[in-house]
């Protein structure tokens, strides 16, 4: 009886008696969810264009963040005295590096594999992952780096105010992360659904051969998509890096996008947003209110269980395209 009470009644009593903590939990979940959505977006873009789960997305986040910090250091050492100017110059150069990366991936990895089975492309992204790990460690070393948060003029500190009978504390960086992630996701969603390139992307996703036959340049689409995905990786790297530090451990965080994609659908940008928010808020609520019942640590598996439950009712995810195959 006690157990049933602690599962079904007590968490809700806690929510009602300490609404400030509930609000704080929801806020943390919202921020986490937006950042998950951002990571998931990188996967969705590439999946839509090439039908492949890009295993390298996580390392692209690390690589982009390390490039930004490395270039900033290089610029400061070479006489760019204004740290903010150096930071934004480094940002521009990093965007350039991500474009070069997208171009190189298209030329060296994707082009030779046109019309190969999806699993070949998937394995190629494994290869790309290990290449970027090795290359990144060779160039930047494995030491953790501190994100150039202040030089990028990202806000720091917290806004604290009394509300709901307690104290609410909102990190300015988290607010910025949520806003930037929302802008980024919306821009991408509009770009890939309302523009000519977006329509071409959908055509490529349906069939490489059919897209080629109507004059869509597969190479161009792939470069654009990988570049967009690289930009998403850069923003993700800045935001996650500013919340902790920038090291190769950041790569692991990308795995969090997997349940988001299962839940939202691999091909849907709105799905990535909704999935991210459900997972972000859901896992924080579960850890905070139900976690203590089983010794905590629920956030390592809760997202996957939730995704599994959704799969039972929506096998293609909430917003995923239904694949109908006729025999």
């Amino acid at each position: 009886m006690d157990l049933l009470y602690s599962i079904f009644i007590d968490p809700f009593v806690q929510m009602a008696t300490a609404p400030d903590l509930l609000a704080q939990t929801l806020w943390e979940g919202l921020v986490g969810g937006m950042l998950y959505a951002l990571i998931a977006l990188g996967f969705v873009l590439i999946f839509k264009a090439s039908g492949v789960f890009n295993f390298a997305q996580g390392i692209m986040v690390v690589f982009a963040a390390l490039t930004l910090i490395g270039l900033h250091k290089l610029l400061v050492q070479n006489g760019v005295s204004n740290a903010t100017a150096a930071a934004y110059l480094a940002l521009l150069l990093t965007i350039g590096v991500m474009f070069v990366l997208a171009f190189a991936v298209e030329r060296l990895v994707l082009r030779p594999l046109v019309n190969q089975p999806d699993i070949i492309l998937f394995m190629a992204t494994f290869g790309l992952t290990y290449f970027l790990i090795g290359f990144g460690e060779l160039v930047f070393g494995g030491d953790p780096k501190i994100m150039i948060t202040e030089d990028l003029r990202l806000p720091t500190g917290a806004i604290t105010y009394k509300a709901l009978g307690g104290l609410l504390s909102l990190q300015r960086l988290d607010i910025a992360a949520a806003v930037i992630a929302a802008i980024m996701v919306t821009t991408m969603a509009v770009f890939f659904s309302k523009t000519r390139i977006g329509r071409a992307l959908r055509a490529v996703a349906d069939s490489h051969k059919a897209a080629l036959s109507v004059g869509i340049s597969l190479e161009q689409i792939w470069v654009i998509v990988w570049f967009a995905s690289g930009l998403v990786a850069l923003v993700t790297g800045i935001m996650w890096g500013a919340r902790s530090d920038v090291s190769f451990a950041l790569e692991v965080i990308a795995l969090k996008a997997l349940p988001v994609l299962i839940l939202g659908g691999f091909t849907s940008i709105p799905g990535a947003i909704v999935g991210g928010l459900i997972i972000g808020i859901g896992e924080k609520l579960a850890e905070f209110y139900w976690g203590p019942l089983i010794g905590g640590g629920t956030d390592s598996w809760f997202a996957y269980v939730l995704a599994l439950v959704f799969l039972l009712f929506w096998p293609h995810g909430l917003f995923g395209e239904k694949i109908i195959e006729r025999v």
Partner: protein, 443 residues
Amino acid sequence: MDVKRLIWRGAIAAALGLAPLVTTARAQDIYVPLLTYRTGPFANSGIPIANGMHDYLIMLNERDGGIGGVKLNIEECETGYDTKKGVECWEAVKGKNPAVVNPYSTGITLQLIPKAAVDKVPILSMAYGLSASAVGEKFPWIFNPPATYWDGLSIVFKYIGEKEGGLEKLKGKTIGFIFLESGYGREPLPLLHQFAKEYGFTVKEYSVAAKEMQDQSGQWLAVRRDRPAWMIMWGWGAMNPTAVKRASENGYPMDRFIGIWWSGSDDDARAGGQAAKGYLSLNINGLGTDYPALQDIKKYVVDKGKSQVEKDKFGEAFYNRGVYNSVIVAEAIRNAQKVTGKKVVIGEDVRRGLESLRISEAQWKELGLPGFASPITNLSCADHNGHHAAYVQQWDGTKWVKVSDWITPMKDKVRPLLEEAADDYVKKNTGWPKRSEACDKST
């Protein structure tokens, strides 16, 4: 074409001809493999330690021509803090007569413990690994000086007791324990719960999975709700700097947040910047470069470009931890040479060297490391740990500062629990061999 072939054949013949010479030369070395991780999610903790371990041994080669006139053959094997890779490293090095193996991971150590006696290679898990392996009668091939995790926890509680005005003052309070969800993170839990019973406080556990290391917002929200009087951390890798950041963001008083000695690198606190000011951690080694031996490392290794350490990180807490590890390795080899009368020693000899190792205060000074660590005085056939002292350091916003004297662990409480845990380990591992290794008179 013929010329090319001739060159190739010549090169192969030369290589084959030289091979026996190379092998002979290697046979005159003492082989010291270092299982390190300079890559992967835990590299931020692994790199400084790897640098410190490597550089001290290289310095001995450069300055003294090795140990006892015998050169050290130092070889790193990259584990990425991955247990599978660690076991692969063991398999790769065990046939080359290693003097000793340092796994540098509790997970890897746990896997290697049953192999050590079979392959006759001692394992040095310096202040990590299985706490119960301190019991030498049950684990003759495993050594974990200067202190076990349980000693570490008891030192933390001695410090807390001093600040609270006695451990009995903890009655009715809550102590939070945030840990990496792994063998390492869970290691001190039995003693923590024992203390909770004894002193009447409540334990709140906050587990952090490896893939959540860089988030932790859920855990720190729970800390905010539970309001523990003290927070204790058993973290590693990217978990540490993130926890320090989250603690300060959630307004947790940093001077009541204390990490084990593996949660106290400069990078762990640096990411939190000024907000991390006040964060505490245990330490078992000295800080900075103001030691003659460190200056020798600089002169013979760093300045000559033979080290991978970044110059501004030379002498930081974890670099010096690596140096400490290599001091134990080197002194165990030196002692093994003395005990066995051999110059080129292998694992079986170094096991004896470790069992009777002594590094007195005077010897630390002779080594060029005065006051660097607690004197190693208690190792024996029965006790492979010694339960030596540690101190508390505090982050001042830019660097660590020593804020306590050397604190000895509660050996009277820890040792019986270790004996019990060792018996339990043996019972669970049917067929665990009885110790057959003789005990040297000197011990």
